[in-house]
């Protein structure tokens, strides 16, 4: 369960998050949608304790991320890039991440196999393609077999088979009872994957609800998204 409650944050002179509130529930895939620069990544960074909000709270299973003991066993996060130092091999990266949370080192090889990187496990992360970096990032998110997954633009950089794999991975994760929150600006790719939708634009939540509720009166999720963000004056 993820609970975002009245988050606000100002950077320089611009208000990048303005009273943002929503929930992501267990057993469901929640799509956090909005144009580039709308505040999706900023919200996720606050949720993961990377950035401080000016006001409001972001909780994972009722606890602030910073207060979670061994957080990777509760929540796995995929941000842009792999997070691995480019001089380090994928396996070396995953092994220190595992050690930091008391996760057995053998999990590194298991998650590398899950994301299809076993053959490249000894390659330096700096030599990975964009798609491979995303897979390595996902491998790190899965290390602790967490009950919550937070994925920022998870299909960016993936080829068609990778996108297909990611979709079924997300659906399977929710079917196993996990809370899945993913951000994206690609509506068409997500319509078949999400159960709930939260739309953000210019730092404010425009709408939230089940996929059926949000698309009600619109032909597709994409149409609904453009109609909702056009009302708030988004430009492309």
């Amino acid at each position: 369960m993820i609970t975002i409650d009245r988050l606000s944050k100002t950077k320089g002179k611009s208000r990048i998050l303005d009273d943002v509130s929503f929930e992501a529930r267990p057993g469901r895939v929640t799509g956090f949608l909005g144009p580039n620069g709308a505040g999706k990544t900023s919200t996720l960074r606050v949720l993961l304790g990377l950035d401080r909000p000016d006001a409001g709270t972001a909780l994972v299973c009722g606890t602030r991320y910073r207060d979670l003991p061994r957080p990777l066993t509760r929540i796995g996060a995929l941000l842009d890039g792999s997070g691995a130092h480019r001089a380090r091999s994928a396996r070396a990266h995953l092994r220190w991440v595992a050690a930091s949370n008391g996760i057995p080192a053998t999990r590194a090889d298991e998650v590398l196999e899950t994301v299809g990187l076993t053959a490249d496990a000894r390659k330096r992360a700096g030599r990975y393609s964009l798609g491979m970096s995303r897979r390595l990032g996902l491998a790190a998110a899965l290390l602790g077999n967490p009950e919550v997954l937070v994925l920022d633009e998870p299909i960016n950089g993936l080829d068609p088979s990778g996108i297909r794999w990611m979709r079924s991975f997300l659906r399977d994760s929710a079917a196993e009872g996990r809370t899945v929150l993913l951000s994206s600006h690609l509506m068409g790719e997500l319509a078949e994957t999400v159960d709930d939708v939260v739309v953000i634009d210019k730092g404010r939540i425009v709408t939230s609800g089940s996929l059926a509720e949000v698309t009600d009166g619109h032909r597709t999720l994409e149409d609904a998204f453009f109609a909702l963000t056009a009302e708030s004056g988004a430009s492309w």
Partner: protein
Amino acid sequence: MVTAELRKLLALPTAWAGLAIGTLLAPLIVLINARYTHAALVDGTYGDVADLGLMDLGIGLIGPMVLGVVSISSEYTPTGEHSPGITQLHATLTAMPSRLRLLTAKLLALVLVVLAQAVVVATAVLTLNEILHGDFTPPLEPARIASALLYWVLLAVFSFAIALITRNGIVPLTVLIINSTFVSVSYLLTKVTDLAYYLPDIVGARMFIRGGAFAQPISPVAAGLTMTAWIALLLAIGAYLFHRRDA
């Protein structure tokens, strides 16, 4: 967490460069200078032999400097051309979100590695001096040797604190290396004011060097306390900034 930080530090090629250079440099210099040093000792032009051996532990400090800086700067290196704004720090903080505990683990890992390096260097240098110039070496003083080891560790922590404030590796490392090798700004400042003898890199060596190269009398304990105070101040500033800044 300390295990994770040890794994991180020791899997970096730059850290191994710091370990190799820092460990090998002082014994190599002792060997290269052996003939000249011995001749000077025999004809009495060497000067005060009280620091023979210990003086050589002032060489190779590039090792702890590199290790201290890299421990932090590696967190801020972009992870790849595909995601220039993303660094290892994002992975580190999602794995270990308590920033002060993370810093403590990083410091402990650094201290362990640098202390091990300093012990190896001190053993090699003092043994070599005993073999090469055994008739002239002063009796071993455990307190002075311990002070030299402490100096190596403190210098690593000093470099760590500067990198923590600057969030960068190249600038602090360039300044530290130039200051300790080519042109010592701190030493030049001592020509202007006696207060410069209390700058961290100058005062630290006074913990174990007794020779007459220093005009200002500072006791080893006062030297150690002064360097520790400098480091405590820089670490406090660095930790405060690290705690407050967005990652």
